[in-house]
Symmetry: C2
Subunit: 165 residues, 2 copies
DNA sequence: GGATGAATACTCGGATATTTATTGTCCGAGTCATCCTGG
DNA sequence: CCAGGATGACTCGGACAATAAATATCCGAGTATTCATCC
């Protein structure tokens, strides 16, 4: 199991956007520079966020990205699913049905969800629940609480110079 | 996020082995036929289980695989980690440190684990905890409870003919 | 001086290569059972 | 009939391709700004 690198980029960008004043727009170029990553590739992931209604994009000069909803109404799960997709990580191929034990006339009993599948689904639900419970607003607060005032001031100043109404 | 197909195969095989009498050995060929999958590829995953001390392999004719521990002492997590690896799904590249906000002399403050990383780790822990709590013995019981007696008898007969001491 | 129009610079969006990981296959080393041979 | 040895068949183990996915990049469509021009 491996999470796409784009998930990290997407969540970081979402947190930055959540820290901006409501309605403020930030260009993908600024987001890429802020995180020290490739702008072209970051845009690809931001497109996924737009497609999933997590972000909105504004074209043209003075354009950029902003959150589609309030930071309190957006969870980390929203961002992760926007990039990784909503498909479950574990896909049950029902391989039991392919074995000799399933060749008889009672193959119907194999239709009940297999216990293994059920366990994996429970695990994934627990994973999602943690991410669903964490809002972007909470993350912004958590990040702010860990940094000293001077760093916050410098970061804020850097961002303000690039914000568009 | 996507789980390898080998995980499904590995867990199914582990459950079958857990259902056998203690010490019984079953060849990879039989496991592959039982699940209707490629023997060559299945062996690759069984090797991973052996490397992780989940299974033991017996070479030569009358050889095969058996669990390395009692089914009550083996969890689904053991099998999943054996195949997928123990690395966390989310790897924090600490991309904050690469941005302009981290260029000052206070870069040390970025050493504290970022809040995003912490959230992802909590989610993964919850996921692992569910899998760790489920033993192979419990899975065998759960599968048995869902099948009708006739199917169990036929399956058992099929397996017994291929078991090696 | 003000308004209008075209040119311009900057933005996102999607189509296109490159690298990596997963999936799938094959041949070789090792081992136990079997069969044959000799006593 | 019994013991010993060579043979053979079946097993796992690791090295080797093919395929799918993630990563990375580039060029094009669209828009607000800006500047020059005309009234």
């Amino acid at each position: 199991m491996r999470l796409s690198e784009g998930v990290e980029w997407g969540v970081h960008c979402a947190v930055v956007l959540a820290a901006l004043p409501p309605g403020a727009v930030l260009a993908g170029k600024a987001l890429a520079e802020f995180h020290g990553v490739s702008e072209s590739y970051l845009l690809k992931h931001l497109q996924a966020l737009v497609a999933a209604r997590v972000c909105e994009s504004v074209p043209g000069p003075r354009g950029g990205f902003r959150l589609a909803r309030a930071p309190e109404a957006l969870s980390v799960l929203d961002v992760v699913e926007a990039i990784e997709g909503r498909q479950p990580a574990f896909r049950c191929g029902e391989i039991r049905q392919r074995g000799p034990a399933a060749q008889g006339p009672d193959a119907a009993v194999y239709r009940v969800p297999c216990a293994i599948h059920a366990t994996m689904l429970r695990a994934e639900s627990a994973w999602r629940e943690v991410l669903r419970a964490q809002t972007l607003a909470e993350l912004v607060a958590a990040v702010g609480a860990k940094l000293d005032p001077e760093t916050i001031r410098a970061t804020r100043e850097w961002l303000v110079g690039r914000i568009r109404a």
